[in-house]
Amino acid sequence: MPKVTYIEASGAEHFVDAPTGLSAMEVAIDNSIPGIDGDCGGQAACATCHVFVDEAWSEEVGGPSAHEAQMLELAEGAQQNSRLACQINFRSDWDGLVLRMPAAQF
């Protein structure tokens, strides 16, 4: 199982084992990591699971789909490396992946 790090806006770090096949939103919720709300339950419909993919990983993880990009426009402070965590499905070789959370979800 890959080990993934979530970092809150405050700098607090959470290291978790990420079962492959689950989304970054589901894993965050399952581990009660604050900073990801996931209000729509992973339908890419609410933009409350906004994360920033660490620069070193952005190519590997890839960019948002067209629909996802539209939802990200609703998120506060979205950047080049923004993604919806519910649309990131962990792969077995993503050991060491780092995701950062914004100060608040909108």
């Binding site: 919720i29 709300d37 996931g38 209000d39 729509c40 339950g41 339908q43 890419a44 419909a45 609410c46 933009a47 409350t48 629909h67 539209q70 939802m71 426009e73 609703l74 506060e76 100060a103 608040a104 979800q105 909108f106």
Partner: protein, 412 residues
């Protein structure tokens, strides 16, 4: 309505557009039956014409997040006359809520910064101080109307602050909100003409305030943001007034009624009140649960732009589709024990009250904050409980779940 009488009626005859259903608070069993027997339901005849009802959680998300197939243009409520008015020069309401991309995004973005969490922090202390002030003057042990004394007063104060509207005039905001949401014969609106007169008065007032703001330095209130942003300046007078209308209703009906729902929910569930008092850390999830259970905005409409398969039915291009958030929030297949009020449920934020997709409620963080502060300050008063002494009166509307009066008594 007796369960027996309801079950005797064939599902195909059910018409949930009748606002008196909601005034009598009878919608629960009707929607329960639709979800079970005919979750994507066609009503061929209603006073507003034919329409579909989408009543299950998953189907509602599917419709709400597909703005390509389901357009918001002039179709967000059952009664479309309400948005457009009757005369050619009527003042339109709804602003970007009743628009599709790309126009929608451009106008929504004008007000987004004002309602972003980083801006709301600036209002937090003021909201707390006012909440404390209003709660501090309430009579103890005497009956009074919570809806009027607390919910309306606090909501108007906050909305006035957020908009940058003079707070002495705050009751005019409530009047306009009722007028915008109203239709002739509902007790507020007498005729379409009178309604439009008052909407024009609203538009004039806000255009004047906009011009005042333009002459001043930019500030963090909504009017100032709309007056100064380049996109805001590009709005015509009518577009500006129309967008103000959606902010007034969005910031008014929702919070006002959630504040009444807060008291109703805990009155009906004394065990949950005891839980919250013992563990105030549950306030955040309690707030989400109140918003889920009450569902202040019960429905939103769309118009199909293409034929679309949903739940085994074919919705035809041009058909009107109503999403019933109030029903989706009670969908047992998506939310466990959906009919119960449980402040520490597992995923309290998974509800439909804010809608989904590009039209998702812009004020959702403000709503969370206002209700959180209200609950914190109620707890701080140290009251043993707030008793509902007579049945609440609900609004005659299939759109806003309004609580018109809520007689209560505070127990010390």
């Amino acid at each position: 309505m007796e369960d027996l009488a309801l079950d005797a009626l064939p599902a195909e005859g059910l018409d949930v557009s009748d606002p008196s259903i909601f005034a009598q608070n009878l919608q629960g069993p009707i929607f329960e039956r639709l979800r079970r027997e005919d979750p994507v339901h066609y009503c061929s005849k209603s006073p507003y014409g034919p329409y579909w009802s989408v009543t299950r959680y998953k189907d509602i998300i599917e419709v709400d997040s597909n703005h390509g197939a389901f357009s918001s243009a002039g179709a967000t409520s059952l009664d479309e006359v309400r948005a457009k008015g009757v005369s050619a020069d009527a003042t339109p309401i709804g602003g970007f809520l009743s628009m599709d991309p790309p126009g929608h995004g451009a106008q929504r973005k004008i007000v987004t910064p004002a309602l972003a969490p980083s801006n709301l922090v600036k209002f937090q202390d003021l909201i707390r101080e006012r909440t404390r002030g209003v709660l501090g003057t309430l009579p103890i042990g005497e009956e009074f109307d919570w809806a009027k004394t607390v919910s309306v007063e606090l909501t108007m104060l906050m909305l006035a602050t957020l908009l940058g509207f003079p707070s002495e005039g705050r009751l005019r905001l409530k009047r306009w909100s009722d007028i915008i949401a109203g239709v002739p014969g509902d007790g507020v609106v007498e005729s379409w003409e009178q309604r439009d007169q008052e909407l024009k008065e609203m538009a004039r007032t806000f255009l004047m305030l906009r011009d005042e703001r333009r002459a001043q330095e930019p500030a963090s209130d909504l009017l100032s943001i709309m007056a100064h942003s380049p996109e805001g300046q590009a709005l015509s007078d009518m577009e500006f007034a129309s967008n103000v209308s959606i902010l007034i209703v969005g910031g008014n009906d929702t919070t006002r009624n959630s504040m009444s729902a807060t008291v109703m929910s805990f009155h009906e569930n004394p065990g949950e009140w005891a839980k919250l008092k013992a563990n105030p850390a549950m306030i955040d999830s309690a707030v989400s649960e109140i918003i889920r259970c009450h569902t202040p905005i019960m429905s939103q409409g769309r118009r199909a732009t293409q034929d679309y398969e949903l739940g085994g039915k074919t919705i035809r291009k041009g058909d009107k589709v109503m999403m019933w958030y109030i029903s989706g929030n009670r969908d047992e297949t998506a939310i466990r024990d959906a009919d119960r009020f449980i402040i520490d449920r597992q995923n309290p934020r998974h509800h439909l009250s804010f809608g989904f997709g590009i039209h998702r409620c812009l004020g959702n963080r403000l709503a969370d904050m206002q209700l959180r502060i209200l609950l914190e300050e109620i707890l701080a008063q140290g009251w043993s409980r707030i008793e509902v002494t007579q049945p609440p009166q609900f609004a005659q509307s299939s759109s806003v779940r309004g609580v018109r009066s809520l007689p209560v008594r505070i127990h010390p």
